[in-house]
């Protein structure tokens, strides 16, 4: 089983490879681009500086470092594009290919079609989870558009994933395993990301002083233990992501005690903590049984420390698969491993795959 880890800085590469990453993925967002178009005109799904490389020269260095260790690098262009954006995407695409990347992660059908026609021999193409591939016919559709791997959406059950693998043995399938389990379907979610950073950038232009710098360092510290992710939860996500905000909620639809109770407990649905800390390690047993070969760790914005922990944890969990354990024994050992690495017990609400 191969572990696909996020990267956003050159100094993360060696650490992640040592921790167990088999592949890396990343995007680029430059200051110039932000100044010209803002965070709301985005070419990949994470339109914030804290989730991206700052330049294509950095991408080149990352690819070289990864290749020197036999690790491949995928480049994300996983949004859907307007005509104006499409021209910019083609520029980025050529720059990324010039950096010798191994694959592109794409969602836009127009772009997939273009890649099939004109870039067939230049790079491999993977379908992003934003492609929302929920059935085998959709997988065939994307296969005909030239994708060699499909990153399946989060909201598929293990047995549904198995059906893809059984039906299409010549395609690779990748599934999510750690972090960012959104309650909504990524490819169908049309809330904007990047609003918080957009506001922050506007603020920093007018108040380019130590105060703003301190705010930024507080919100995006270099070293952040898993425990302190809650700082991000409280201070950023509730502002950044509409799905993580706190709402006053009322039920409208006649008297239904059951539904009124749902209104009272809505925070268990829009819970940034379960979004951030989601974990599918226990499901590795079943994912391995059905033939999943690639597992993805989310969280491009996370610190090197966090990414290293997540990658190492999944590597150790995958290693347990070789110990001829039954499912119960495997789950029990993975949960102990979680506590050992992250310093706290896992919680059932964090499960990536339905318990």
């Amino acid at each position: 089983m191969f572990i696909v880890s996020p990267v956003k800085e050159i100094n993360e590469v060696a650490t992640l490879i040592k921790a167990g990453a088999s592949e890396l993925y990343c995007g680029v967002l430059t200051e110039d681009y932000l100044n010209e178009y803002s965070n709301l005109f985005y070419l990949n799904r994470r339109p914030v500086i804290s989730s991206n490389l700052r330049s294509f020269s950095e991408l080149k260095l990352i690819v070289e470092a990864a290749h020197a260790n036999g690790v491949s690098v995928s480049f994300v262009l996983n949004e859907f594009y307007s005509q104006n954006q499409f021209e910019l995407v083609l520029e980025e695409l050529d720059k990324a290919i010039g950096c010798n990347i191994d694959a592109l992660i794409v969602s836009d059908v127009g772009l997939l079609d273009k890649l099939k026609r004109e870039y067939r021999d230049k790079t491999r193409v993977y379908l992003s989870g934003c492609g929302s591939c929920f059935n085998i016919e959709a997988a065939r559709f994307y296969k005909n558009l030239g994708v060699s791997r499909i990153i399946l959406p989060r909201q598929l059950a293990i047995e549904e994933i198995k059906a893809f693998i059984d039906a299409l043995p010549d395609l690779q399938f990748e599934v999510f395993i750690q972090n960012e389990r959104c309650p909504f379907i990524d490819g169908f979610c049309m809330f904007q990301h990047g609003l918080f950073e957009y506001r922050y950038n506007k603020l920093s232009r007018f108040h380019n002083n130590k105060f703003v710098s301190r705010v930024k360092n507080y919100l995006m510290p270099k070293k952040l233990s898993r425990l302190y992710r809650n700082h991000i939860v409280r201070n950023v996500l509730k502002k950044e992501l509409a799905c993580c905000s706190q709402y006053d909620i009322e039920y409208s639809g006649g008297s239904s005690i059951e539904q009124e109770n749902i209104a009272k407990t809505y925070s268990s649905f829009f819970n940034p903590e379960t979004f951030l800390n989601a974990c599918g390690a226990c499901a590795l047993y079943d994912l391995n049984r059905i033939g999943v070969k690639f597992v993805k760790i989310c969280g491009r914005y996370l610190s090197r420390n966090n990414k290293e922990q997540d990658t190492y944890f999944i590597k150790e969990a995958v290693r347990l698969l070789n110990n001829n354990l039954n499912k119960e024994e495997f789950v029990s050992k993975v949960q102990l491993l979680y506590k050992k690495i992250f310093g706290s017990k896992c919680r059932r609400e964090y499960c990536y795959y339905q318990n």
Partner: protein, 259 residues
């Protein structure tokens, strides 16, 4: 401008009046709400009695439901082969093309950015960004791709920031007054998603979504949001279309939140 009435249940036909030349029926957001063949026949009977065109609206689907949907298409083809199918899942394209239905691409696949919180910052945005937020993710490669496959219409929502599809090169339908923002397979209305020890998931349901909806308010959100079942909607009663170059030629009225 063609006017269509979009209903998810037979009972909502009481919202019909002679302004409407077309009926939309079906469900975009939950495969458990796909209509039965009997429901479809009743609606088709009404459409034929009133000389109305008909569009079957379909959603994103998993393999477990594919056969049921194919049965529905078979029924539709026998009764009204000149119908239109709204596709919200690329997996349906090949199946639907076995028949001679006309095809439109649904709003799940046209992907406009819709979070109303953007209204707070519209004034300071660069012109290209603003245009993108009004037009959505439509590029000419995509449009050509659609046309090559016999899809000659796209469906979009009526955004607060306005909609702008100058020279899109394809016919456009505008949904009104409800726009969808996001959807899920995890149902907000399902009490099992609140049970202690359950992670969010896909659980059996009693279609609790049909009983009512939830209204969400937050100071950062300029308008209230509505959740019905698994989907978040906004309501925008004001249609803002540009005077020139507008490709919208169909307005789809939703008398109820379409779940």
């Amino acid at each position: 401008m063609e006017k269509a009435l979009y209903i998810t249940e037979y009972g909502y036909l009481n919202c019909y009046n002679f302004e409407y030349k077309r009926i939309y029926f079906g469900n975009e957001f939950c495969e458990r709400l796909i209509p039965s063949p009997d429901e479809l026949k009743m609606i088709l009977g009404f459409a034929q009695d009133n000389l109305l065109d008909f569009s079957l609206i379909t959603g994103f689907i998993t393999d477990g439901i594919m056969e049921q949907l194919e049965g529905l298409l078979e029924t539709l083809f026998k009764i009204k082969p000149d119908s239109e199918i709204i596709i919200n899942d690329w997996g349906l394209l090949k199946i639907v093309r076995k028949y001679q239905f006309s095809l439109a691409l649904g709003r799940l696949l046209t992907r406009q950015k819709k979070g109303p919180q953007v209204l707070r910052i519209l004034d300071g945005l660069p012109e290209e960004t603003l245009e993108y937020l009004r037009s959505g993710c439509i590029n000419r490669y995509f449009i050509n791709f659609l046309k090559d496959r016999g899809i000659n219409r796209i469906e979009v929502d009526n955004l607060f920031q306005g909609v702008k599809f100058e020279n899109a090169g394809i016919n456009i339908s505008l949904y009104f007054p409800y726009g969808y923002i996001t959807t899920s397979r995890f149902c907000f209305s399902n009490p099992r998603n609140r049970k202690a020890g359950n992670s969010l998931g896909i659980y059996l349901c009693r279609k609790e979504c049909r009983n009512g909806h939830f209204i969400l308010r937050n100071p950062d959100m300029p308008v209230p949001l509505t959740i019905k079942g698994n989907t978040v909607f906004f309501e925008n009663k004001k249609i803002q279309l540009p005077d020139h170059g507008n490709m919208v030629d169909r307005i789809i009225y939703q008398p109820r939140i379409p779940i």
